[in-house]
């Protein structure tokens, strides 16, 4: 601590010509701490460098560049993963189980807790708007029917989960609904037809 500050007020004041305000308010004349000055000058220097580097010379990447790099990297990773995943999927998974989990998360707001229907159609009945084959339903879930309000889930969930979801949806026809469902929509199919349409995919 600077010794000056402990000197009697009057002396200090006279020497420095620092006035007294409102009876007893005063400012001592301690020096500016060095490290404070260093900090201030460093931030100024850094700022000048940064601005020149990123904007005047444009050496550093812009935000858009950074995004492009991130997206490209993610895409590569994704392709690699998809390759591995498909191989694994064939061997192990029961897609319907995975699908059930995601259904609760993303579909119930429109198709109801049990799939009984709401904003979207009832998924338990024998009536289908789209042909109830795996390929056709995967297409519906993946790409959506935006005019009718069915969102496209492909970009959000990815192919594997969509397949799981479709597999799950297809199991619903065998699960009796305990609560009233939404009125039928679309075309009616017989039990046999449905089994046949859906058979070649469910495991």
């Amino acid at each position: 601590m600077n010794p000056k500050i402990d000197q009697p007020r009057e002396q200090e004041q006279e020497k420095l010509d620092l006035p007294v305000f409102d009876g007893d308010l005063q400012e001592a004349d301690n020096p500016i701490p060095r490290w404070w000055l260093a900090l201030f000058l460093f931030t100024i220097g850094f700022s000048i460098f940064y601005f020149v580097w990123f904007h005047m010379m444009a050496i550093g990447p812009s935000l858009q560049d950074e995004l492009k790099i991130a997206v490209a990297k993610a895409k590569l990773e994704q392709e690699e993963r998809d390759r591995l995943m498909m191989a694994k999927l064939e061997a192990t998974a029961t897609p319907a189980e995975i699908g059930a989990k995601y259904f609760k998360n993303f579909c119930v707001s429109c198709h109801g807790q049990e799939g009984e229907g709401g904003i979207g159609p009832n998924l338990h009945d024998n009536y289908w708007i789209h042909e109830p084959t795996a390929a056709s339903l995967t297409n519906v879930v993946f790409n959506g029917v935006s005019a009718k309000g069915m969102p496209a889930w492909g970009p959000i969930l990815g192919e594997r989960k969509v397949k799981g979801l479709v597999a799950y949806v297809m199991t619903l026809k065998d699960v009796p609904l305990k609560i009233p469902g939404k009125a039928p929509e679309g075309k009616e199919y017989s039990k046999e037809q449905l089994s046949e349409f859906m058979s070649n995919t469910t495991k």
Partner: protein
């Protein structure tokens, strides 16, 4: 020697107002905090839903609590520092009552949804004018007192208050520039990215020049007074002052990092925020090193304790702020509760405790008695500090948790938490802790109110006349600076020069950042043809969106970050907002971003969601808006509104304006027909239809343009 009296009664009035509004404002704060933990706390009453109440909270604590405290402290200290009675008692009285009436009118309009939706500047144009007039009255009184002074030098507190008065006038006037469409509805003259820049230049510097500089003026008065020690360093004070007021004004764009603001402007915002660290710390050092001189007193003196914690929090938040301005860190903290935590460490810690200390200091002196209970003040200090920490720690933690959840990708390269509510549910317990922390802080203030009330009650009425003081008249030769004295003394003796210098310095930052945005800019060709103004129905919908304060929970600005592209879609471009008067980018995502929500859900989804969000999104904390389903939209001023926007450059043709109601009906009927299919009858003239039209339009213009990044 001349004898004169200080006007103490005006200070007493402002102090009483401070305490009352402080309690009210913080109580509203606790209620909005509660509404996020437990949405039903809005009682289903439109006036106190989150979107309307949150602006009431911010306005009440800033303009009612803190401003009254500033006025009290400035009137108290400046008379004493300048050795003169207030310039005009009448103006002071008008200032006082005018300000209280303003607060009441502001509260009424805000809960009624009468707002321009610019944060901390929500008031509509008649009230904006009232603010300006009252501010000028305050300025006349303040500068008039300087003019009448008997003290040659201006003390550092006075410099800070001069900067405050000049800067706030500038900020308020520029940011409030709007064209009225009717008595209580106006549109900002700025659109989109310009409006955002002006708004955050304003809002950042409202923090700078209402919640920092005047409080620094208080620091330089109350700290040495209470510590009974001189300010540590005169020179540090000088450099800190000039650097702070200059640099502050450049930092606004740190609220707009990664947005559609030009990147060089963003960078300026980040860099000047970093450069703000040292100037801020200059005053922190001066405060703390002064208090250190009185270390012994700190143990027994609650006022000094409040001051010490206040200055410490000032140091903390002025370190945290620059860190949050670094782009990569900002991409994590922005739109989250981290910002809310940062604000409250400044507001409750720095500003709140400084104001509290000043009240404990002034009240016994003004009522010429002793503080009723030192023990209660001590208790207040501990409750307040615990409350502060219980607020701050959980809420910055909530911010970080939520942000990391938004950004998390799973092993399959997809969003780990695509369901928004998962990221909300994770932080609800922390919201409860905040309620507790905030309530504790409020309890402390109530305790203070009681303590001060008892103190004032115990006063001897016969002693309450204005304090007598004496000082020699100011002789011109006193203004001559002695040889060998610091050069700065010269400025300190010349208020006009000091004011002009301050005005010049505070004007630069905004000018460099705002003016380039006002020049005509050519949009990229692909945007030029697709960006269209809102239809009449959508405009009505947007006004409902503004009225309900949806922007308090939803942003409309998708940042160029990978997780946001996956979650929301294409990032937002400045071209999309050229007709957006006022902009709706928001600052906090309590709900998801809405800039790409257009077309995401069917109309029916929105209908059910607005009626009760939990019907489609279990666990949602968004308020229900059932009245939108029943109330008819108001078309009285439709043409006037469109004409106002046309004047501001939105390309509505005269024909469109003439046929506005017809165009509106056609679009409304179309939506109503779709809703009718889902069993919602007679919606064509209801507010919900207009709101749905607006929501379905958001970001839709360029949804189908595939850009290079994809």
């Amino acid at each position: 020697m001349e004898q004169f009296r200080y006007n103490d009664s005006i200070v007493r009035k402002f102090i009483i107002a401070t305490v009352i509004w402080g309690i009210v404002g913080m109580l509203v704060g606790v209620v909005v905090a509660l509404q996020l933990a437990y949405w039903k706390a809005n009682g289903g009453i439109p006036w106190i839903t989150f979107g309307r109440l949150r602006p009431l909270h911010t306005n009440a604590v800033i303009f009612a609590f803190v401003c009254n405290a500033i006025f009290a402290a400035v009137y108290y200290a400046s008379q004493r520092l300048l050795k003169a009675r207030i310039f005009s008692d009448t103006l002071a009285t008008i200032h006082f009552w005018g300000w209280q009436i303003l607060i009441v009118l502001a509260a009424i309009t805000l809960v009624s949804g009468i707002t321009v939706s610019k944060e901390y500047a929500e008031l509509e144009w008649p009230l904006d004018i009232m603010v300006a007039v009252l501010w000028v009255i305050f300025a006349i009184n303040f500068f008039g007192t300087i003019w009448k002074r008997r003290e040659p030098h201006l003390y550092i507190s006075i410099w800070y208050w001069i900067a405050t008065i000049v800067a706030i006038a500038l900020l308020h006037i520029v940011n409030s520039m709007a064209l009225p469409a009717s008595f209580l509805k106006s549109y900002s003259i700025f659109a989109g990215v310009q409006d955002a820049m002006v708004q955050w230049w304003y809002a950042h510097n409202a923090v700078g020049f209402l919640l920092t500089t005047p409080i620094l003026g208080m620091l330089y008065y109350f700290v040495p007074k209470q510590a009974q020690r001189p300010i540590y360093s005169y020179r540090l004070g000088i450099i800190g002052f000039w650097a702070l007021i200059f640099v502050y004004m450049w930092a606004g764009p740190h609220h707009l990092l990664y947005t559609a603001l030009p990147e060089w402007t963003q960078t300026l915002g980040m860099l000047f925020s970093l450069m703000l660290l040292a100037p801020s710390w200059a005053s922190m050092l001066n405060g703390l090193l002064t208090i250190r001189e009185a270390w012994e007193k700190l143990k027994t003196d609650p006022i000094l304790k409040f001051l010490a914690v206040s200055v410490t929090f000032y140091g903390m938040s002025t370190f945290e702020g620059p860190m949050m301005s670094i782009k990569s860190l900002n991409s994590i903290t922005h739109y989250t509760d981290y910002t809310v935590g940062h604000v409250h460490s400044g507001a409750l810690g720095w500003v709140g405790f400084m104001v509290i200390a000043s009240l404990y200091y002034m009240v016994p002196r003004l009522w010429r008695t002793n503080l009723y209970s030192k023990t209660l003040a001590e208790t207040h200090f501990w409750i307040g500090t615990v409350g502060l920490i219980l607020y701050y720690i959980p809420i910055i933690t909530a911010g970080i948790i939520q942000s990391l959840m938004w950004k998390a990708f799973d092993a399959e390269g997809l969003l780990k938490y695509p369901n928004w509510m998962e990221t909300v549910e994770a932080i609800i317990p922390l919201y409860w802790l905040r309620v507790i922390g905030g309530s504790a802080y409020l309890a402390g203030v109530v305790l203070m109110g009681y303590n001060l009330y008892k103190t004032a009650k115990s006063a001897d009425k016969s002693l309450l006349s204005d304090e007598l003081a004496q000082a020699p008249a100011l002789e011109p030769n006193q203004l001559v600076v002695k040889r060998g004295a610091y050069f700065h003394k010269f400025i300190e003796n010349a208020p006009v020069l000091l004011t002009l210098l301050a005005a010049g310095l505070v004007s630069v930052g905004g000018a460099v950042q705002i003016i380039p945005l006002l020049l005509p800019r050519k949009p990229q060709p692909i945007f030029e043809t697709v960006i269209k103004p809102l239809t009449p129905l959508e405009l009505v919908g947007k006004d409902i969106y503004i009225r309900e304060g949806c922007y308090n929970c939803h942003s409309q600005m998708v940042r160029p970050l990978r997780d946001e592209l996956v979650r929301y879609g294409e990032y937002s471009r400045w071209e999309e907002f050229v007709y957006d008067h006022p902009f709706q980018w928001g600052s906090r995502r309590i709900g998801p971003d809405l800039h790409r929500v257009g077309g995401k859900y069917p109309d029916n989804w929105h209908y059910l969601h607005m009626k009760d969000p939990r019907a489609v999104t279990p666990g949602s904390i968004m308020p229900s808006y059932p009245w939108l389903l029943q109330d008819r939209y108001n078309l009285k001023d439709l043409e006037a509104k469109m004409r106002t926007l046309q004047t501001l450059g939105v390309p509505y043709s005269d024909e469109e304006i003439q046929n506005a109601k017809e165009l509106l009906r056609i679009q409304a009927q179309d939506i109503a027909n779709r809703l009718a299919k889902d069993g919602h009858k007679d919606t064509e003239d209801k507010e919900i239809t207009a709101l749905i039209a607006y929501l379905q339009r958001l970001g839709a213009d360029i949804k189908n343009i595939r850009t290079a990044e994809k």
